[in-house]
């Protein structure tokens, strides 16, 4: 191999530093938030908290953990995310697996039926009217069923299934295994990477989504965490207006808000790095649709 020239080495370091700066830009907002959530109210009021907490304390977290409204939304969203992920993976598998059989009669028509839904969406109001007609408005099921199957994710799974050699399937068919049995004992055990990826996609989608709860859910017992967060951010702003007239400690509002955002983010931030090698593959499968 050729020895690197000095300019080449300089460029190597330029790229290293560039990437370092980019990484900093990614994490600084989170570090700032963490610092605020752990700081004493006096320091926050005096605008002295930058990237390190001052007057370290966990009061804000304690307050959040004692708030029944917040805990309720957290537990409900965790439950919802688990149920949605399982239901979605099941539906996606049920849709993707049959479509890899070339001899399936009606396959072409079914494919067209599915593809049309990717291009044409009836729109917000027709969807809303449908939910109303199905008596799903303010029903907790409205946060599970309407988003249970994503055609994009189905295509990712189907591409993955295509990559599993036909010969495995054919030899099982000759041995007399039913097609359902083949799915359970050959395809699913080989599909861990794509299942992990799609589980992550569905779970993140459910955890982070708030528009369906905003539009369809009027019962605040079933508000998702993100919707509660949206309301808190906007309400606390109002509280801050009130505090200027001397109603409560303004610093506390800031650290509380920060603690709530931290709580709502941590579950996902703990999971995604471990699934990285899977989702990279999944994203790539989705981009090369064929």
């Amino acid at each position: 191999m050729k020895v690197k020239s000095t300019t080449d080495k300089i460029w190597d370091w330029v790229f290293v530093i560039f990437c370092f700066v980019v990484s900093l830009i990614c994490v600084i907002p989170m570090i700032n938030l963490l610092a605020k959530s752990l700081s004493g109210t006096d320091f926050l009021v005096r605008n002295e908290v930058y990237l390190l907490p001052k007057g370290l304390n966990f009061d804000a977290y304690g307050t959040v953990l004692k708030d029944p409204k917040y805990i309720r939304a957290f537990v409900w969203t965790v439950f919802l995310t688990i149920v949605c992920t399982i239901a979605s993976l099941t539906m996606t598998t049920l849709c993707a697996y049959p479509l890899i059989f070339e001899h399936l009669k009606g396959r072409k028509a079914i494919n067209i039926f599915i593809t049309i839904t990717m291009f044409f969406n009836a729109g917000t109001i027709p969807n809303y009217l449908l939910m109303q007609k199905l008596h799903l408005l303010s029903n907790p099921l409205v946060l599970i069923i309407p988003g249970v199957l994503s055609v994009y994710n189905m295509i990712i799974m189907r591409s993955f299934f295509y990559g599993i050699p036909d010969s495995l399937r054919e030899s099982a068919e000759i041995d007399g295994a039913s097609l359902f049995r083949i799915l359970m004992s050959i395809y699913l055990p080989l599909s861990k990477p794509v299942m992990a990826t799609l589980a992550l996609f569905y779970a993140v989608g459910r955890w982070n989504g708030y528009s369906d709860a905003l539009m369809y859910m009027r019962d605040d017992r079933f508000y998702t965490l993100q919707l509660l967060l949206y309301n808190i951010i906007n309400n606390i702003n109002q509280v801050e207006v009130a505090t200027q007239e001397g109603f409560s400690a303004p610093g506390l509002a800031a650290s509380l808000k920060a603690a709530i955002v931290m709580f709502s983010t941590i579950p996902i931030l703990c999971i995604y790095p471990f699934l990285q090698k899977y989702f990279i593959h999944g994203v790539t499968l989705g981009a090369v649709k064929e």
Partner: protein, 313 residues
């Protein structure tokens, strides 16, 4: 058809069904789901052309004035909708101009990093913003950019400058909105390009090195042409979505001071339709958006094929 052939056909169908019936059972639920949640709403699209009333079935509603186009005419005569339409186009276009190249540039630079472990750490960190919801990103933005107690303005004021209204003034708001869009997506978007770069034949680089090509010549003459098909496909999809765009991001970022530049079609439909109950008007707006969206997608695909690139289908 002879009796024998008929019998054979029947037997064939029997054999076929015996093997394949399970697949139809599996497909039943997903197809039922699509029928109910993706096709059934299309029934309600007709209220764009009709006078909506709560009590009457949609099929029996009377046609709206002007041969049913009353609500389309009304929408385009409405200032709020015109703002929303303009903002949707502006914000999407700015996203395209600034947000689209960012992952490509990032992927090219990552590809030049020679320390593999470092590269992996940078990647993991760069994917992080993609996993945050827009509500959370907005609250991060507030913490960073708030006029008095935001980190950035605290630094600016400490250095003797005056506080900048990043989120409360129209022009600054657009900058922050686009900036956080890039922040959220540049890392995640780079995955596809990195995979595409990994697929380039390494012999090409070796040959170029023999010819004395330096780092940037290789980037320009091998890497970029190598990922061009990926860039084109993603560009088409983005162009096709120029009038689309989600609800979560603009809705989370909006505040009363910037509505004139922040209101987009999705949030307009929510505000005027679901909150304001003007169902016919907003269905017309949604239909306009969908139809134009499909048209843009077909156009972009057609143009890319004319230019000799692979389309998306």
């Amino acid at each position: 058809m002879s009796r024998q052939a008929k019998a054979q056909n029947k037997a064939g169908a029997g054999v076929y069904l015996k093997k394949y019936w399970q697949l139809y059972v599996m497909l039943f639920l997903p197809l039922l789901y699509l029928l109910i949640f993706k096709y059934a709403p299309m029934i309600y699209v007709q209220i764009a052309f009709k006078k909506y009333s709560l009590v009457e079935s949609v099929w029996k509603l009377p046609l709206a004035a002007n041969h049913g186009f009353e609500y389309f005419i009304k929408a385009f005569g409405n200032n709020d909708f015109r703002y929303a339409l303009r903002n949707t186009l502006t914000l999407n276009l700015l996203d395209l101009v600034f947000g689209f190249p960012a992952p490509i540039i990032f992927a090219l630079i990552l590809n030049e990093l020679c320390f593999q472990r470092y590269k992996k750490v940078v990647q993991t960190i760069a994917y992080m913003p993609h996993f945050l919801s827009w509500v959370i990103i907005y609250s991060l933005a507030l913490q960073l950019l708030a006029p008095n107690d935001g980190l950035v303005n605290m630094v600016i004021m400490k250095l003797g400058g005056s506080s900048i209204p990043f989120l409360n003034d129209a022009a600054h708001w657009i900058g922050s909105y686009i900036g956080f869009g890039i922040w959220q997506n540049f890392g995640w978007g780079s995955i596809v390009y990195l995979a595409s770069i990994a697929g380039i034949n390494p012999e090409l680089y070796e040959a170029a090195a023999v010819d004395g090509a330096g780092r940037f010549r290789k980037m320009w003459h091998i890497t970029l042409p190598g990922i061009k098909p990926t860039i084109v496909v993603l560009l088409i999809m983005n162009l096709g979505n120029i009038l689309g765009g989600g609800f979560d991001r603009p809705f989370a970022f909006q505040n009363n001071l910037v509505m004139k530049v922040a209101d987009v079609i999705a949030t307009y439909v929510y505000r005027v339709g679901i909150k304001g109950l003007q169902f016919s008007l907003t269905t017309a707006v949604g239909l306009f958006q969908s139809v134009v969206g499909v048209f843009f997608l077909l156009m972009a695909n057609f143009i890319s094929r004319k230019l000799g690139e692979r389309g998306i289908w």
